[in-house]
């Protein structure tokens, strides 16, 4: 994690979370003992599930982690009232907040003990989201007419269910926006594209999180604490399905990486060149704000950008296409694209590979449509060819100088700018704390 000073937004979110907890402790601290003794069993379960949800994050295929189970459990605590076989959970917003904070705190401590980052800012974001839901459900409106109180009146059940879902949606949305802003700040990528990715990649999961919290509260009067596992089944199903999906995605990536090694094994391209170009391209792509789908395709296209060399009768020197004649470069790119087109699912990837040789000048002067992804691969490939994969400062400077000579003519200035930022700081454009999208 970066020093806090470089992440002002993380500091703000963290301060909000801590502020909420401190305020709640000061105002409702004395009631804590009664709360714990009355709702012992229920509290134990909910704190446990919140912590568990936080410790079992869902790893999306793009490498992002979310904690839907923690959010759902938090929302359930915010809404729940009557529970069959348990005393009525009639507590204020602040005590709800403390319960959820306890669960999140346990998770943070466990993570710390296991030597991992506690990720306090994301925990704080979750707490803020749940607090808003709890406030809207329990404190908003006149005494006895809050959303929470209405759920005990049989006549308005349907309406209550709808309103709860709405409140939950608001809370989840808030949490989502905060979390993606935190991520964007950490990766130095545009905030809007982070929010968009979060919303689109995980849309159905988000939807499930929104309804599952209210579901627990609505089933609890009948099923008691069993409502929790019953409502969570679909979410668990989603966990396993997403896990399976991510595994498949990894397999697919491995398969593409295998294809990228064909030219390496034949001595046509240098070892690991394709992997390095792919890593660089994806990071540049993030910095310029490409979406998840484009990022996946750019990764595949970068891995396969030299595939066309497979049909060359003799290897070109060092496999460095940047030094080859423009006509040869084009032939290699279109041969690669022709091979890739055998998979109709990879049509976009083939287009990206094909476009990688077009100089930026043609985009500027003749309005030729070259995908941003192709421009990125062109630039990343040139950098890696020129440095030979070494990260020494001399090679780096020589490579950047040469690329700058082609600025605006050969290379897109926006991409070169992003490249400069990416190679200058290893945190820029990376997901999570992994060194690279490895495997």
């Amino acid at each position: 994690m970066k020093p806090v000073a470089t992440r002002p937004f993380a500091v703000v979110v963290l301060a909000a979370g801590i502020g909420l907890v401190v305020a709640a402790l000061v105002m409702d601290g004395p009631d804590l003992a009664t709360l714990v003794s009355t709702h012992e069993r229920m509290l134990l379960i909910f704190v446990g599930v919140v912590a568990l949800g936080e410790l079992l994050p869902l790893r999306m295929p793009s490498g992002r982690e979310t904690a839907p189970l923690a959010m759902v459990s938090g929302l359930a605590v915010a809404f729940v009232g009557p529970i069959e076989g348990e005393p009525l959970f009639a507590v204020g917003t602040r005590l709800v907040l403390l319960v959820v904070a306890a669960g999140l705190g346990v998770a943070a401590i466990v993570r710390r003990v296991r030597g991992r980052h506690a990720r306090l800012p994301s925990l704080a974001a979750r707490l803020v989201g749940v607090s808003v839901a709890a406030f809207l459900a329990r404190s908003w409106g006149e005494e006895g007419h809050t959303l929470w109180a209405l759920q005990q009146a049989p006549a308005t059940k349907g309406l209550v269910a709808g309103l709860m879902t709405l409140v939950a949606a608001l809370a989840v949305l808030l949490e989502l926006v905060l979390v993606s802003a935190l991520r964007a700040e950490r990766q130095r990528t545009p905030w809007l594209s982070a929010v968009r990715d979060e919303l689109t990649e995980a849309a159905p999961i988000t939807l499930a999180v929104v309804v599952t919290g209210p579901m627990v509260a609505l089933m609890a009067p009948v099923l008691g604490l069993l409502a929790l596992p019953a409502a969570l089944v679909p979410l668990v199903m989603a966990y396993s399905a997403v896990g399976q999906y991510a595994r498949n995605r990894r397999t697919n990536r491995q398969l593409i990486a295998t294809l990228s090694r064909l030219t390496e094994a034949g001595g046509y391209t240098p070892n690991q060149h394709a992997e390095r170009v792919a890593e660089l391209s994806v990071r540049i792509g993030r910095v310029v704000g490409l979406g998840d789908r484009e990022l996946r395709d750019i990764e595949y296209a970068a891995l396969l950008h030299d595939l066309g060399q497979i049909s060359l009768r003799d290897p070109i020197p060092d496999g460095a296409t940047v030094l080859a004649a423009p006509a040869d470069q084009r032939d290699i790119a279109s041969e690669g694209a022709r091979i890739i087109r055998h998979a109709e699912t990879l049509a976009t990837v083939a287009t990206y590979v094909e476009g990688q040789t077009t100089p930026f000048r043609l985009v500027r002067e003749h309005g030729e449509e070259v995908p941003m992804a192709s421009r990125i691969i062109k630039c990343a490939n040139a950098y890696d060819d020129l440095t030979g994969g070494s990260s020494g400062p001399e090679r780096h400077e020589a490579a950047m100088e040469r690329i700058h000579l082609g600025l605006g003519y050969e290379y897109d200035p926006e991409v070169v700018d992003a490249l400069t930022r990416v190679v200058g700081n290893s945190a820029v454009g990376r997901v999570g704390k992994e060194p690279a999208p490895s495997r």
């Binding site: 679909p234 697919n252 593409i256 294809l259 090694r261 034949g266």
Partner: protein, 241 residues
Amino acid sequence: MRQQVATMLRGTGVGYLGFAAIAFSMVVLWKVAALGPVAVIIVLAPLLVAQWAYRQHAEERRGQERALEVLVAAVEAKAPHLAGHSGRVAELSEYMAEHLGLRSQAVGDARMAGKLHDVGLTSLPTRVVRDTLLGETSPALATYPTRGTRLLGGLDFLAGALPAIETHQAAAKGPSGVPVEARIVGAADAYDLLTVVGEPGGAVLPPQDALDALVARRLDSEVIEALEYAVARRDRAETAR
């Protein structure tokens, strides 16, 4: 067919269990918690999630198969005289494995090995691969099965097909103790090379002569019989098409 059923059951069995749980939640919400029709809306979201996840899953699976086609296309770009060869060997291998009564997993492995048996060629210099057409065989050419297994070694879903890819060449040359999938792919490969791809110079044998040639190499009679069956089945399928 058997293989498809097996995959389908594995894929959907867990799904049905989940759907049952969702249905249960809906009954509780609608009837017992007295929500009425609103329950449908609430339950819809988890249903959508499940549906979404399975659709994504299917899409990635399809992507996997398509990416394998790219691998085959790479072989054919390297060795244009082998166009269509991998597909034909895969088909024959699958029919043969079925005829020999192998389990569905092994049938899939044999098909996959048939499809990818030449992948190792892609890591050889193009000159070496294409010069075989001129009758020149470099010693490096014989290493292609090993090269293929090395290239595909990291892919878990191909683990079952690797032994056959590695040893099919040896199995095509004469009697050997290699796994049955390797003997299948070896025979199918040899048959297709004799009847369709042809020797350097382009001479191809009629089917019966090719089978006789394989018998002369003292290949497993069981495997030869399966090959005869596979060829007949393919011809039938082609006339029906």
